[in-house]
């Protein structure tokens, strides 16, 4: 768990976890409200008290109450705990999809800011919420946030006829959500990587621990450095030069934050599976002969599109399927709408996540798609869940699940 907070006063400074540029961002917000229209949580809750500008306004008031000149002269004001709890709920209800930052007129990088505000509330003992609290202990004991045994990480889905090598320039990281919650997705990844024909390595299940994203996103950063160093050194020992992963959240933290926690540049490059597969198609190492006369619609995961800018490769991969008609959501690529699975909010605000997932399903059905294609294990698990007891149904398929199915015989 995070640092002890039992003795912290509500008047303690609120800025210890923010970088100078994030402090400037908080002052720069003009409360223009342009972000309200694109916020998926606003779309389903209609609650302005948890909107992005309101969260920034509240946090700014906390800073003023504790760090302003008046606070220095007259003493910092003790902030009402109820207000702090309300703020904590608001900041944890967010899916951290980053759509608000994408639309921000003053350029605030909210996908980076919200986790830091969460970290501050964790430091004060107000967060995380509900099941999120169990994640550090679960990761400490089992290596994954679900608390599931390491021996079950690969065994339920890993194809028996595929061998991974001990050392190779390419490694595949399955990720916890894929390995435990989205088996067809990770199985598809391995089948496609095998079909490319290049040998690849994987860490043994007890060594492939959490990438740290669930801890990062819920503001529980204490274990991050240890996890990152452990994983980087394990891959380095296997002479890895390219680490391939299909989970956008893992890819995001690997590409953006691992170097920070590792303390220097990573000894290998990070690639999303669609980048590797699109490259294989382009190089002629992979070819799909079977025709698929279907209308499919691809949903951009927030941490893949807005997070690291991977938007065209998944489409390039899908365009390699003969006969396919690729549809687009109204909000696609950098504008994509969160499916509800982001930011670990789904673990606490389940109804919001289901409502957002159903909006995604409904739009796919409205556009007369035969299949909804996803490229994220969290989206995969949540959208499947959202479809239960929902009047609208559509086959939900992971992108590599689809490709691996078409690569097979017959």
């Amino acid at each position: 768990m995070s640092s002890p907070t039992c003795c912290m006063k509500n008047s303690d400074s609120f800025t210890k976890n923010l970088t100078p540029s994030q402090r400037i961002e908080i002052d720069a917000c003009t409360q223009c409200g342009e972000c309200l229209d694109c916020c998926p949580v606003q779309q389903v809750t209609k609650n302005p008290d948890i909107s992005p500008p309101e969260k920034i306004r509240m946090f700014r008031e906390f800073i003023m109450a504790t760090d302003s000149l008046k606070a220095k002269i007259l003493g910092a004001k003790e902030i009402d705990r109820k207000l702090l709890e309300d703020f904590t709920r608001a900041v944890f209800e967010c899916t951290t999809c980053g759509a608000c930052g994408q639309n921000c007129t003053v350029g605030i990088n909210t996908q980076r800011l919200w986790p830091m505000l969460r970290k501050e509330m964790v430091r004060r003992g107000l967060g995380p919420l509900g099941p999120q609290k169990e994640m550090p202990e679960a990761i400490g004991k089992t290596g994954n946030p679900y608390g599931k045994p390491a021996e079950e990480r690969y065994s339920p889905w890993f194809p028996e006829d595929i061998q991974v090598v001990e050392k190779a320039p390419v490694a595949y990281y399955a990720g916890c959500t894929g390995a435990y919650e989205a088996h067809p997705m990770v199985k598809g990844d391995v089948l496609v990587l095998h079909a490319i024909g290049e040998p690849f390595t994987m860490l043994p299940p007890e060594e492939e621990v959490c990438c740290g994203f669930p801890l990062f996103i819920t503001g529980q950063h204490d274990m991050l450095e240890g996890l990152v160093k452990r994983l980087v050194e394990a891959y380095q020992a296997r002479d890895v030069k390219t680490l391939v992963c299909s989970c956008p959240c893992c890819v995001n933290i690997m590409a953006r934050d691992w170097p920070l926690y590792y303390g220097r540049e990573l000894p290998f490059r990070i690639r999303h599976i669609t980048q590797a597969v699109a490259g294989a198609f382009a190089a002629g190492r992979l070819k799909i002969e079977r025709e698929l006369r279907e209308r499919i619609i691809y949903h951009d995961p927030c941490y893949l599109s807005r997070g690291v800018g991977i938007m065209e490769e998944p489409r390039d991969v899908l365009k390699n399927i003969p006969g396919i008609e690729l549809l687009e959501f109204d909000h696609n690529r950098l504008e994509s709408r969160c499916c509800g699975a982001g930011g670990a909010a789904r673990k606490v605000y389940h109804e919001n996540a289901v409502a957002m997932g159903r909006l995604t399903i409904d739009e796919a059905v409205r556009k007369k798609a035969d299949k909804l294609i996803l490229s994220c294990p969290a989206c995969y698990a949540k959208v499947h869940e959202a479809m239960q007891d929902h009047k609208t149904k559509i086959p939900i398929v992971d992108i590599m699940e689809l490709i691996s199915g078409l690569l097979g015989k017959g």
Partner: protein, 266 residues
Amino acid sequence: MHPRPWILFWFFVICCHLYLDYSLYRRWKGWIRGMKTGFAMSRLKMPVVRIWLYEVFLQRQLFSLSVMRWLIHQCIFWGFISLTFLSLTKFILLLLSRISLDAGLHDFFSWGAGYPFTKLWGDFFGLILFAGCAGALARRFVLRPVETAHDQTDTFLTVYLLLMTLSGFMLESLRMALSPSDLDNYAFIGGIFMPARFGIVAGLGTWHAVTWIFHAFSGAAILAYLPHSKLLHSLLAPLVIALNAAEEEGRKDMYWPKTKQYRPIR
């Protein structure tokens, strides 16, 4: 013309400026109290500079969100910047002329061949600022777009800028009425506000002094109001854009600067 309270004005300007400096210093102290992060000047490479120029001067993000809002904001931005630039230039030239270092530019722009240029610049950008403020108010109270979230201070600031611009035009027209010149035609907006048009023919000196006091003091008061108003974003937004772009450049994300593509116009 009545004498103007220059001493009081300069005292007021100095007080407001000191207050602005102190407020910004306080904020700076607050900002640097955050987690320490390194900033290498080497990150200020071409993609960063390009994004900064696009976002700060052309406000591409706003353009993609709403063309009307972009137009209004551009009017206010360029009007405000250009008038501030004009005032600052005139002030600096005045100071330099006192120590004979202005190379004659003060006289050139104040009553020489450069005078029409000064008038055209002031009236044109005054008109732009006025149009921007009027547009912002019309959008807020007549068109009422759904996403607009604002409080009373927004309206106060917009009306404040609108009145400052109007008082600037009135001041110019009163000066033209009190001391006509052949070059007055260049003040194409000031001519519209000539007092005679409104039936004011007497007491022009008093009108001029009162208008000058309003215009000059409200202009100086902006300095003190800036750190507490949304005008602060005029300083902070360019800073945020530069810092975030430089951070991305340093991090070398997979697709930087492609991740800074903005959405198409709707």
